[in-house]
């Protein structure tokens, strides 16, 4: 696939928020 740096940034921003909700709700910690 080809794509832009902007696409990567958009996905990263969206997924940081998404995963924060999932990880916090499930009480998952890797530390």
């Amino acid at each position: 696939m080809t794509g832009s740096a902007e696409l990567v940034s958009e996905i990263l921003k969206a997924r940081i928020d998404q995963w924060a909700g999932v990880i916090n709700a499930a009480g998952i910690s890797a530390e």
Binding site: T2, V8, L12, Q18, W19, G21, I23, I28, E31
Partner: protein, 283 residues
């Protein structure tokens, strides 16, 4: 000319200082252009946040073998596994933006999950890394043992709701994409399945020991064309596909990012690279 530059830069009146600033800016622009023209003048190191032999490692080696030929310099791949990719992320984020240390990571998975899984490390992935380009994706699939009673994802969800906390799901470890993808499915469809570590599953699907219920992405998987997506199964939007993308340390000059972006695109149009990357992944 001095007036125009001075006004653009916020100087209220033309001055020697503004003229000097303009001259310095021009020199820096020329230096930047020369750097891009010469880049790379030595080997480039690419950090892979996982161990050798995995999908990320294999796909990256194919890409960067071809990219080294395009750039005319060796590309050295280093595997720095650990902490769900966070160790590699930190390493590249802390590297000087000298254009010779790059990172491969998944902005939809580990690079994003590391923010919450390793909150005490406090790396700002959005500012400490400079995205260059994506270069691949892989899908995910929901499977059950071949003798499991659920034939479809809807069956599975109904069964899981009847037995909260009793159904188990596998991944390769705590905090891995498989683990978190399971937690996300729990949340989306409203079930309580428990996590246990497992190994790669595609060989088990192909041998009939596991039955695929749904592909966990926007589209069906190339390797499993008869398996519907989660959305097609009527269980909502659930896309946990992985993306491979190339990053540089934050602050890397845009002209260098441009050189790497063009090289990545050129390599991805190479038939040999495309044919290898089209092979099914096994984990």
């Amino acid at each position: 000319m001095g007036d125009k530059i001075g006004n653009r830069r916020g100087c209220r009146e033309p001055s020697v200082r503004c003229a000097a600033a303009a001259a310095i800016a021009a020199v820096l622009a020329l230096v930047g252009a020369a750097r891009a023209d010469d880049y790379p003048s030595r080997s480039v190191h690419v950090i892979i946040p996982f161990g050798p032999g995995g999908v990320t490692d294999i796909v990256s080696r194919v890409l960067f073998d071809a990219m080294a030929k395009v750039l005319g310099q060796a590309i050295v791949i280093e595997n720095r596994a650990g902490a769900s990719g966070t160790i590699a992320t930190e390493f590249v984020a802390d590297a000087p933006p000298d254009r010779y240390t790059l990172l491969v990571d998944d902005p939809s998975g580990p690079l994003a999950t590391g923010v919450s899984l390793y909150a005490s490390r406090r790396i700002d992935q959005l500012t400490r890394l400079e995205p260059i380009a994506p270069f691949g994706t892989t899908g995910a699939v929901l499977v059950v043992a071949a003798n499991f009673p659920a034939q479809t994802l809807a069956d599975f969800v109904a069964l899981a709701k009847q037995k909260p906390g009793e159904l188990l799901y596998g991944s390769t470890g705590i905090g891995t994409p498989g683990h978190l993808n399971g937690a996300l499915l729990d949340r989306i469809v409203g079930i309580d399945a428990r996590h246990v570590p497992l190994a790669a599953v595609l060989p088990y699907i192909q041998s009939g020991q596991l039955r695929a219920l749904a592909a966990a992405g926007e589209h069906r998987l190339r390797e499993l064309p008869n398996v519907p997506t989660v959305k097609e199964s009527g269980c909502g939007n659930y896309d946990v596909s992985s993306m491979y993308a190339l990053f540089a340390p934050g602050g890397t000059a845009s002209d260098i990012v441009g050189v790497l972006k063009r090289a990545t695109d050129q390599v991805l149009n190479d038939e040999d690279v495309a044919s290898v990357s089209a092979k099914p992944a096994s984990n």
